[in-house]
Symmetry: C2
């Protein structure tokens, strides 16, 4: 049988990162390639307690079909907390619980993009989101990323030139993969441009609560008086990714369409996980938990940066970050980055080649991404030492 | 802001059933409209035990990111059990764990259907699947359902006439909504026709283990020597639907493409739920559990049928079934089915109007669907009594 696939998925390849995972699962290999949160950050004891309590109380409610929109008390808890802590969510907004924030990207693209429509995104950006947009045959146009976020002149030029832009996709805090945080000034400008050109913004904020240095910057969604921002939140980095719970906050009309699409995808998100997240946010001191997480990540980050100063030659640069899980390192002019990453694997260290994150994977790229959250401190230092040695020899 | 949606979802409406749920959640209303399995059938105690054990052993593995394909021991357990018990799965097949069988429908349609491609389906059929196919702008063509499955002459005519058929969608056992089981003869004919006309079959079998009368009929997938059948299985009816765990068994090449699509949808299925399903299948006597379920459903079915003989006038017919969750009742010629269903709601009984399940919802339909698995025995008898009374008065 010769299977032919739909035009939208024919060219789609597995994420380069998930492919690298196959090497990375070799126990002899130091993986600095994952996007995994630090396992010591999981509130495992609390989740086990909550789970036992829920089963003792009313197991049927944990096991029966539920509504597509999500468990109502969780939606209310998210709405209340986001409004109070981040001024996110207005009268016209609603909350939809999703199977990870990844599903928000899928539902937004499916609801909004006809084939050939354009999504403007940071270059580089999160490969999982880019692949989802590609899977609906949207065309990606990358906007260069600077130390304080997207280049706004380039963004405006793209908005002028492209007639079919459906939304601008941004990860404003501790961006994956580049670690960049968008300044408040640029957030305001982004919002104003979107409004002026009549397009939507998809704001993906999985790492916002993991700020360990500097001052909090308000979400783009906090500016949203016009109902043009879809906000994607996630429990993957603040509770646990294996639970697959995220959420969208967006104007009711958009949420209603996303709900219909979600019915057709998975009916609703695992109800046990929704209940556990809700209890964790309400019965425990969730802010204290987040503060503890920030401590874990601050320490991990310091370990990584200390090792980088010690082992990396100066001609390899690494952008300092104020939160999140990732470092973006750049080899000197003329260096062969793909060869560097392949060599690293042979020396049993995995990093992700930066080109994997580009809207156009064939564009030149001398950067690679390091994840400092999931390796142990020892692996992290050792891995960076090996990368530094390799850089000294080869670039 | 005037939101415009993509062509594929613009016309998409929330499932009529999920809308009826809103009435049905009124505690004064007897809901015979759900698709919920019987709550007394959930192995709640076992799930609680397994969950506690898993958290005591290695909580991090329950909480961290996992692979898109699914938890390997679960995939192996499913593959082994389906091969041994049902002769399903050959050398070229692979298992993909999904977020409910609903996701199999989505991934199959997304991978295979270009806009305007045709899906042949039973008329009536499961609305959740039909809406998913619609959401990729596939065109549905219904094939009449007889007491022993699809009309095969009509199917062959459709295969001759339509040049863009991507797959034939069938629920061969205790079909939702019509309760019909396809005969082995028709399964063989279906397979031969698909092969002859070079199309695929999507076999959706959520109820297969819930046979309480008659003889088991082998799956269409058991005939699949040519790699043309995608089999969708589910734990929703045999363990618990709130966990959202299903699976696809299909040729490797198809599964690989579905995996890429799933990466973009939800990365992977909730890992706790996958682990619980795996332990239930391996550590417990799963066959004994299924036997107990069949006892529960046999009894529920008898209660429903006894009430129907007692309360329904003879001119309202109801097809006997050999398993599953649903009864398909048909009002006499000339009756106004939509009015009947509306009247029933006013008398506080919810059923689903049969037209909701038609590929073309505007086709004439005198039938409605009763669910006998989720109401209590008392509700079931009372609800049928009210429906019978209404039928006597109005048809």
């Amino acid at each position: 049988m010769d299977y032919s696939f739909s035009d939208r998925v024919q060219a789609l390849k597995p994420s380069a990162i998930r492919e690298i995972f196959k090497y990375a699962s070799d126990p002899g290999v130091i993986s600095l390639s994952a996007g995994n949160p630090a396992p010591e950050a999981f509130p495992a004891k609390e989740i086990a307690e909550i789970s036992a309590d829920l089963f003792a109380q009313n197991p049927i409610d944990l096991l029966q079909y539920s509504v597509t929109e999500g468990y109502t008390p969780l939606r209310e808890t998210i709405a209340g907390s986001m409004r109070k802590k981040h001024r996110v969510g207005r009268e016209f907004d609603r909350v939809l619980v999703t199977s990870g924030a990844q599903q928000v990207m899928d539902l937004a693209a499916k609801s909004l993009c006809n084939e050939g429509d354009v999504v403007l995104c940071e270059a580089p950006s999160f490969i999982g989101a880019l692949n989802t947009f590609r899977s609906y045959n949207a065309r990606l146009r990358g906007i260069s990323l600077e130390d304080d976020g997207m280049n706004m002149e380039e963004l405006e030029r793209a908005l002028k030139e492209e007639t079919r832009v459906r939304f601008i996709y941004t990860i404003p805090n501790f961006q994956n993969p580049a670690g960049v945080t968008m300044s408040m000034e640029k957030r305001r400008r982004l919002y104003a441009l979107a409004k002026q050109y009549g397009t939507l913004i998809l704001e993906d904020n999985p790492y916002g609560d993991l700020r360990f240095h500097g001052e909090h910057v308000e979400a783009v969604k906090s500016l949203d008086e016009d109902g043009i921002v879809i906000y994607a939140g996630s429990f993957s980095k603040v509770i646990a990714p294996g639970m697959r719970v995220g959420y969208a906050i967006a104007p009711q009309e958009l949420i209603q369409k996303m709900v219909v699409c979600k019915q057709g995808q998975d009916v609703h998100t695992n109800i046990w996980a929704q209940r556990v997240c809700c209890e964790l946010m309400t019965r425990y001191d969730f802010d204290a938990h987040l503060e503890r997480l920030r401590g874990v990540y601050r320490k991990k980050y310091k370990t990584a940066m200390d090792a980088i100063s010690r082992f990396f030659p100066e001609r390899v640069t690494c952008r300092p970050v104020e939160g999140g899980l990732f470092l973006w390192c750049t080899l000197p002019e003329g260096a062969d980055m793909p060869a560097f990453c392949r060599q690293a694997v042979l020396r049993k260290v995995c990093v992700v080649p930066g080109s994997a994150f580009l809207p156009n994977e064939n564009d030149p790229c001398r950067s690679f991404r390091i994840n400092y959250s999931s390796p142990t401190d020892e692996q992290l230092v050792k891995g960076i030492e090996i990368l530094g040695q390799l850089a000294k020899e080869s670039c």
